[in-house]
Subunit: 233 residues, 4 copies
DNA sequence: CATGAATGAGAGTTCATTCAT
DNA sequence: TATGAATGAACTCTCATTCAT
């Protein structure tokens, strides 16, 4: 008995924060492996070497635990510094923002599935923290669209929510097979495709550049500056 | 005495087809009212005046029943004669096809929810009959896109699956709130918006019909904006 | 293998009524032995050789089961033909009705405890079937009091509810020790005592039936007491 | 920085007595608000700013805590100086003693409920301190009855325990609705009613005074004295 | 003395599925 | 063919009590 073997090394009697973190970690794993329907408190308890009772000390409800898993997961993504393109042509900025959204789906399909397929269907979705977190991601794309509308690069008469739905609808559809575990997708290619179509549409003759309308462009930029200096919202 | 009172008149000893139909009908109602998570065989049995045992005679599993409900439901939609626009400008044909897809969502949110949020996430989704049925609906839209590409109206270099994802992604996103029971949407407006963006994109200067009038259009929009910014919100 | 031994003789696959009856019987036993707080569905299931699931087929809730036990138990008492005295002196009729109430307590202390100590404290007590059943018992006594008031034998100015509370309060108090399992009581003696006090009160000189014979009566009682005190306990 | 913020000011390291008192106070509040069934050690701990562990340092068991709450509560009532009527007509003294008992119920329904409906049913009731305390209250009424019997004002042949049960049974019955939270009652009216009925009974013609039977009364008192000197129980 | 993290047994309840009748 | 009584495993959640710190 030179040295007792510590079977459960860091387990018993953890401080509050660490225990919560351990539970959340285990719960995340269970969610990833089983999906929310098969997610049981019993398995979470087993995986993190605690009892179910302990879980209920920290999370009042199975549902609460599930939501907090999603939240904390999201949090991590939002904490990453998002390397937004701040200069360069707007096309590239848009591409980059879409690319980033796609990359989240790629990196965390289980989280994406949970949010998109289970939480979003919930009548209380809009009151969840996850809803707000998701909005942040969406905003990163939409800010660029808005900027484009202001600068005259994008058609200002289009409802911005429609544009949002086209972009994120496309992102989801492009990734369903992957989320289902049946296929793969290229973040680069998808981002490029979506950017292209949402910008130029599918009609023939959409000018990729349109350098000839420079005069108008100039006029437009002047107008934009005027608007800004006049103090629009 | 003289004549026994028949408590359950039309139920006992139905031929196989009728019995199955009755069960499916009841199951559909339950699904509509409760959603797939709260869908219980007990309630189905009760609603169609049979026993749970009988249900299991025809459907080996709760899950099978659920799938067949979706199938038979879809079937009905596909049996409707779909009033496809076969002539007229392609823009109108596309609009019409998108409009029809949106109208299905509108008419049967419960079915839509089931398929989009629960079955689609299933690893076996592509083997389900529902998958094929859904494809038919999608095809109706895509046929027009294909036609457009062949005729030269639409850019032939674009991947048709990308276009599909943009259209149906947008359809879903535009209807989420409605599916969640939180809001409404206009079939007409959504169809128009989606058609417009998918065709012309969001970039300024996309030539509507007559590409030469674009300069004038843009000037007009600029004027509009200036007026707005001068006139305060 | 001449004859297979039937281990569980009358248990499996009982018709609805019999099964319910069996559960109620077992539940009654559990209640009698354990009291309502320790009453568990598990023990009921075990005692009647079924599963808990089966119990929940017939009784939606533990609480419902408990209430139905009380109800069915009471029912049995009310179904007994109650041998009401319809003639004779009112004193005797009253005595007899009180006697009958006491005899119920005596015969079913567990039921009495349940109703008096647990259900009666419940905010919903007045909506329970048990409340109505209990009223029937009370009514049997009160009808006689009312009759006495009408005939002029009892003081008409007294609130009948007050009289009710004195009689049934006394019944309960006289039986608490017995209900707690600590003692016994004489149905006859209690009934006689309660009747006497409620009729004549405790003030000296209350005229029995024939006011002239009171002196003799009292002397008689005095003699009785003297005899007792002289002749040991 | 300069001065640490004391989150829980007066809690840590209390002397034994103060700590116990604090726990009892909190426990009483919990009992009042929740009733004994919903009474949890966790809530008690939270309300007095300690931990459950500390509670178990002082009270070996949840049950013990509950009993001590009842005891200490009762103690307070008994410590109040009870303004007994020592002179005046016996009717008034009796009325006053009953009135006081009713006033306790009125002031502390939660305590009353606990004692009457939960502790009294317990097989160990007679060994509880609460039992003795309750007896003190009862004694205050019964002393007057006894006095009345000795003085010849009350019929001496009646079992005093029967009288006790009639009085306190009536008190409880008159207050059940109030204890259940469903109604109210008038202390004055109840006391008057109970006093009246217990004294004169319900039979017509009970003489409020009856001074004429004095000879018999004298005989009775003689007998009573004889009994006592002979050594009855 | 005080804590509060941890427990674990057990509660009520649900429901897809089976199978004797 | 049809029944519906029966199951039992699994679920979420509760809480008095313990004990290392």
């Amino acid at each position: 008995m030179a040295r007792p073997i510590t079977t459960k090394p860091a387990s018993r009697r953890l401080p509050r924060d660490q225990r919560m973190a351990a539970i959340l970690r285990a719960a995340r794993d269970v969610l990833r492996d089983r999906g929310s329907e098969q997610f049981t408190t019993a398995e979470v308890a087993e995986r993190c070497g605690t009892s179910e009772g302990t879980i209920y000390k920290y999370f009042p409800t199975r549902r609460d635990l599930l939501l907090q898993v999603a939240e904390s997961w999201f949090e991590e993504f939002l904490a990453e510094d998002y390397p937004a393109r701040t200069d360069g042509p707007i096309a590239e900025k848009l591409y980059h923002a879409i690319w980033w959204s796609l990359s989240i789906v790629r990196r965390e399909p289980a989280l994406t599935r949970l949010v998109l397929m289970e939480l979003r269907a919930d009548p209380g979705y809009r009151k969840m923290a996850v809803y707000d977190q998701n909005r942040i991601i969406v905003e990163r794309v939409m800010r660029i669209v808005q900027e484009g509308q202001l600068s005259g690069a994008f058609r200002p008469e289009l409802d911005i929510r429609l544009i949002r739905d086209m972009i994120f609808g496309a992102i989801e559809h492009q990734t369903w097979a992957y989320l289902r575990g049946e296929g793969n997708f290229s973040v680069d290619a998808s981002a490029a495709g979506i950017t292209e179509v949402v910008m130029r549409g599918i009609v023939t003759g959409s000018p990729p550049d349109d350098p000839l309308s420079s005069t108008v462009n100039r006029l437009e930029r002047i107008a934009l500056r005027m608007e800004k200096s006049l103090g629009g919202t």
